[in-house]
Structure formats: C-alpha cells, structure tokens
C-alpha cells in the first residue's frame, strides 16, 4: 500500500494544476507532494533494508534492494528538481497556462519514473518506460523555440521507435516462457524458467530489447537524440532526464539480464560489454569536441550509461555492487551538474562555453558549484563517482576482464581531461567578455548548494543501511 502512495502522490499535485488560476500555488504544491513522496521512499528503503522486500501486489508491484536504490535516486533527484523549478521557471516568466502545464506534466513524469522501479512485470515496466517518454516530450519542448521543438521531436521519434521494437521483445519473451510451460511473468519468474526456454526465441527477445531500450538509454549509435533533448529542456528537467531517466530504463534491461544469461548462446554479457565500451569511447571523444555546457554534460550521460553497461557485463557480486553504486552516484552528481548549468544559463543568459570565460569572478557561487559538479561527474576524488568507478575497475580485474578495466580507465581519463579543460576555462579563465550578470533565484541557489552535499559525503562515507542495500542488490542481480 505504501508503495502505491509513494508512487502516486504526485498525481494529486498534477490534479491541483488542472484547476484554473492554480499557477501561483502550483510550484509549492508540486514541491510538497514530491517531498512527501521522497520521505516515503526513504521509509520504504529502510523497510527494504530490514525485511528484504516490500510487496504491494505480489508478482506485479513490489520492490527489493536493487529497485529501492533506483527509487531512492529518482525520488531524491526529483525532489531537488521540483524545488529548483520554483525559482527557475518563475525566472523565465512564462504565461500562466504554461506554468500549470509544466508542473502538471512534471509531476506525472515523476510518477511514471517511480513506476518503473516498482513494477516487476515486464509488460507493466514497458508501459512505464513508454509513459516516461510521452510525459517528458512536452517538458523538453517547454521553451517553445524551433530548437527545443526539434529536440523534442527527435527525442520522441527515436525513443518511441525503440519502444515499439522493445514491446515485441517483451511479447516474444512471454511467448518463450509460455511455450516452455512457465506461468509467472516477472523478472524472477523468467529467470527461473529461463533454462527451459527455446534459445532462438530468447536470442530474438534479447536483440529486440537491447535495441529497443538501448535507443531510450542513449547507447551508441542510437544516442543522437540525447544531447539535443538533454540540452534543450529546462535545467531541472535535464537533471531528471540525464540523472535518472536513462538509468531507470537501463535498470529494466539489467533486471532481464539474468534470463538472458541462463542461455549461453545469447552471449548477453558480451553484447553488454560491446555496447557499453562503444558508448563510453564515442562519448569520451564527443566530450572533447563539444562547445556547450549542457551538451557536455549530456554526452557525459552517454559515457556513464556505457560504464554501467560494462559493469553489468561483469557478472560477479563485486561488479553488481559497482553498478548499483554507480547508478546512485551518477544520479546525484549529474543532477548537480545540470543544476549548476541551469544556474549559469540564468545568470549569464547562455551555456555556450566560449562566451562564459571568467564566470567565477562575476558569479562565484554558480562557478564554484559548476567546478564541483564537473569534478564529481568526471570521477575525481574525493567524490562518490570516483569510488564507484574504482569499484567497477577493480571488479573487472578480479573477474579476469582486464580489458574492461583498461578501456574504462583510459576513456574515463580522456573524458576527464576534455571536461575539465572546458569547465576550467569557464570558471578560471580570464574575463574577456563583459556580460550582463543576472541574479540567481533563492530556491535555485539553495538547491544548488544542497545537491553538492550528498555527492561529497558519499565520497567519504556510505551509511550502513545503504551499503547493505548495495550488497543485497548485487546478490539479487547475480542470482535472482
């Protein structure tokens, strides 16, 4: 029951926005409902850490350790983004009707993402994934400029194309299980029946799901829409799209991985490693070339999806811990980056790197947070991403996949150099353009500072409950 409440609470905020003249209260109402949902998620995480799982409707809606870590990441980033929106959207000063549309859409988008983490039936999970696309398209096009509309259109066409391919994959998986006499169509049920299923059908389902969901995750070479959509949307929406939406879809794929692994002929881990490495390499090289702060961070998302897929291809418990940890630390660090990039857009009116030289002198808070965010996401110590990436590299070495560790360290290094070169020129470069510098709204500044806290703290210390969730999640992944 508590699961339904936590997931569906923001629907009430969306309903509130449906009333005429609700635009003045909409930001606060939305933020409060999402805050309530966030607090409930922490409670659910504590229950899961104690009991192993929380069940609402058995075999349909339930969470275990892996799911609850994802849910925690989604709820945390959404809460931050909701508060950040109050100042950010007001600063853009859109007409009242668009304010209501934004907040209603925002709440429903968060519901659809939370739904991914609680559905254990692949059909329902697919619907939740499709809804995340449909409910975020109008958020991407919020600016209503030709560029934003173009980004929204590309985003929609490519991810919906992926969704139709993926739905056939889900149906073929259902067929394979029923032909083998299985009945429980859940992640765990599929994994239990997997060894009896026909290898041809499972291979077909794997190919369809990897391509279909891969398009939505932003895996190379289906990543082309991602930098457009993740840079044109308003900053709080970017933080959610990049920080947690892509990971949530990756989660569905990894949940099904145990089924694919049961049949050696599918070579699931080999394909994970190939797509993971290709995405990491391509993104690292694109980061070096980009000229826009938000696109820089969007390419970094492609990079991190590659890293997570590489981690998934290491089938040991250590690899699993690295993957779950990376999922959470990426969500926190990436949202900080986009909050900072949004702050830059508010105070300087642009996110083009060449026009931002010497920002630090004019806007010290935004500049500092941008530097912290970039260091954190690029994998510098002492931030959370550094530890999780190190854990993945070590897990790869211990599992005997030295090449994964080599590719990982080499291209994370290239991406680090590319990203820091650009961000330091913004923050520390000599001021050569005198631009009008605006003020940062208070709520936006508060979120910006608060978002840096978990990124830093998790780099030193992981609470016992969270560490327990990580290790439980890793064992669930290896043997569901």
């Amino acid at each position: 029951m508590i699961l339904f409440v936590a997931v569906l609470l923001p629907v009430l905020a969306a309903l509130w926005c449906a009333f005429p003249r609700s635009e003045r209260g909409a930001p606060v109402v939305t933020a409060s409902f999402i805050a309530a949902s966030f607090l409930l998620t922490i409670w659910i995480a504590a229950c899961t850490a104690a009991r192993g799982q929380v069940v609402a409707v058995g075999d349909w809606v339930q969470v275990d350790a892996f799911a609850v870590v994802l849910m925690l990441a989604i709820a945390t980033v959404s809460f931050g983004a909701a508060v950040y929106s109050t100042g950010y959207i007001a600063h853009l000063n859109p007409p009242p009707q668009r304010v209501r549309l934004y907040y209603a859409n925002f709440s429903l988008f968060i519901v659809s993402m939370l739904a991914i983490s609680v559905c254990v039936e692949p059909g329902l999970a697919w619907i939740a994934v499709e809804l995340t696309t449909l409910l975020s398209v109008l958020l991407v096009s919020f600016a209503d400029t030709p560029e934003a509309l173009e980004a929204a259109w590309k985003y929609m066409v490519i991810t919906l194309l992926g969704a139709t391919v993926a739905v056939l994959g889900v149906l073929v998986l259902f067929w394979a299980q029923h032909a083998a006499g299985g009945t429980t169509f859940t992640y765990a049920g599929l994994a239990a029946d997997a060894h009896r299923m026909n290898p041809v059908l499972v291979s077909a389902a794997f190919a369809l799901l990897l391509i279909g969901f891969g398009a939505k995750i932003g895996l190379f070479p289906m990543h082309t829409w991602l930098p457009d959509a993740h840079s044109q949307a308003p900053a709080p929406v970017c933080a959610i799209l990049s920080g947690v939406e892509t990971s949530a879809v990756l989660y569905v794929l990894i949940r099904l991985a145990a089924t694919f692994r049961a049949i050696p002929a599918v070579h699931a881990d080999l394909w994970f490693a190939i797509f993971g490495a290709a995405s990491l390499v391509a993104a690292a090289l694109l980061i070096v070339q980009t000229h826009d702060l938000k696109r820089l961070f969007a390419f970094s998302t492609v990079e991190h999806m590659g890293i997570m897929l590489l981690a998934a291809s290491i089938t040991t418990a250590a690899g699993g811990i690295g993957l779950v940890w990376q999922m959470l630390s990426h969500a926190l660090a990436k949202s900080l980056c986009f909050f900072a990039a949004g702050g830059v857009a508010l105070v300087a009116g642009t996110t083009e790197i060449a026009k931002l030289r010497g920002l630090q002198a004019r806007a010290p808070l935004v500049g500092t947070m941008l530097l912290i965010g970039a260091l954190a996401i690029a994998g510098a110590p002492p931030f959370a991403v550094f530890l999780s990436e190190l854990a993945i590299a070590l897990a790869a070495v211990y599992a005997g996949h030295v090449w994964i560790a080599v590719v990982l360290l080499l291209f994370v290094g290239i991406a680090f150099a590319g990203m820091m070169g650009k961000v330091t020129s913004v923050v520390l470069g000599r001021e050569d353009v005198h631009r009008e510098i605006g003020r940062l709204p208070r709520s936006t500044a508060v979120v910006l500072v608060c978002a840096a806290v978990p990124v830093l703290v998790l780099g030193f210390w992981i609470p016992g409950g969270l560490a327990h969730l990580f290790s439980t999640a890793a064992t669930e992944m290896v043997a569901p």
Binding site: P146, L149, L161, L168, N198, T290, A354
Partner: protein, 224 residues
C-alpha cells in the same frame, strides 16, 4: 465443410492485406491518404484478432480487437483531425529523402529480411497463426523505413503507429493470453501518444511555419 477450416485462410488473407498496407505507407504521398491507410491497417489488425479469437474461442482476443477498433480506428483519427491544422492533410509530400522506386526496393528487401527472421522464429516454437509473426516482423521493419523516408510530422508519427500495429499483429498470435491489464494500459497509451504528437505538431506548425520536421537541423556540433 465447417467454418473452422476457413479460419487460417481468412487470417492469411488479412495478413496479406496488412503487409500491402505497410507498403502503401511508404508510397502514398498525400498526408490525408496516409491517415486513411493507417485506419485500414488498424481495421485489419482488429479483424485478425477477431478471426483468431473465434476458434478456439478467446474473449481475450475479442477484447483486444474491440479496444483496437476504439482507440486506433476512432479515437486516434479524431484526435489528429481535431488538433492538427486541417490544411496539412491536403499537402502532398514532395521532398522525401529517398525517391519512391528506391524506397519500394528497400521496403521489398526489408520484407524479405522479415520473412526469413520470422520463419526462424516460428519453427522454434509451435504456434496457431504463423503468418502473423512473419507479416508482423516484415511490417515492423517497413514501418521503420517510413520513419526514415518521411519528412513530414504526421506521416512520421503514422509510421510509429504502423510499427506498433505490426508488433501487435505478431503479439496476438504469440501471446494471446498476455495479461489483459497490460494490454489495456497499452491501448490507452496509444491515444495519449497521438495526443502528444498532435500537440507537438501544432506547436511546430505555429513556430516554424511548416511541419516538415525532417528539415529541422539547427542542433548539431558546429565548429566555431
């Protein structure tokens, strides 16, 4: 002779028309006619569900057929007519990225690929209606081609919906007892999709002055 013997033949005929409609989606130039092809295709999907559900009787497939009729034959065309400016439907698309004969040849090649893959799948597990899987896969691939060839917003999105039809044509054969709750949710999902697309198309029309989304190319890594 009883009626049951005819069921595979009737279904094969429906599947034949279905793959024809997929080809028509590539060829037809007028946007209004494209919508007409989509409606006919959805009708065929519903018919196939009714025929397959007749014997052995399955109320489940009947439900799928009725929901398809409601959402794809009635609600979606109404939504598109209601929210997308009317003058778009009389447009003839001139600037396709590939000319029609080439596109047809590629579609033919894709259909062959679909047939080969589909045949491999249906030999792997016994099935009542093998045509649906083969035709569904071929039409799915052709639908992806529609997306690549078309530059106008409405035909592009009809391509996506045609791919969805193709996936479900295979689906009603391979997973006739797929959880109804999931199927119903998918059925409500599709009109939402059409609604969002229609809103976005209208916004593009208002801001850019046309709906040739294929020509939008402002976003890329441009060197300084």
């Amino acid at each position: 002779m009883n009626a049951q013997a005819f069921i595979p033949e009737i279904n094969a005929l429906i599947c034949g028309f279905f793959v024809l409609s997929a080809f028509a989606m590539v060829v037809v130039r007028q946007i209004g006619a494209c919508l007409g092809v989509f409606i006919a295709q959805s009708l065929l999907l519903a018919l196939s569900a009714f025929v397959l559900g007749a014997s052995p009787f399955s109320w489940h497939l009947y439900a799928v057929g009725i929901v398809t009729l409601l959402s794809k034959v009635i609600v979606i065309p109404w939504l598109l007519r209601r929210f997308v400016p009317g003058e778009i439907y009389t447009l003839r698309e001139i600037s396709q990225s590939i000319d029609v004969p080439t596109a047809l040849l590629i579609a033919l090649a894709l259909a062959l690929v679909g047939f080969v893959l589909g045949t491999r799948l249906v030999t792997a597990a016994p099935l009542l209606a093998t045509q649906n899987v083969i035709v569904g896969l071929a039409s799915l691939l052709i639908g992806a081609l529609v997306l690549a060839v078309r530059r106008e917003a409405v035909p592009q999105m009809l391509g996506i919906l045609a791919m969805e039809n193709a996936a479900f044509l295979a689906g009603i054969a391979i997973a006739p007892d797929f959880p109804l709750i999931a199927e119903l949710a998918i059925a409500f999902d599709v009109p939402l999709l059409a609604f969002i697309v229609a809103i976005l198309t209208r916004a593009v029309y208002r801001r850019v002055g046309s709906t040739a989304v294929g020509e939008l190319a402002a976003l890329r890594e441009h060197p300084q």
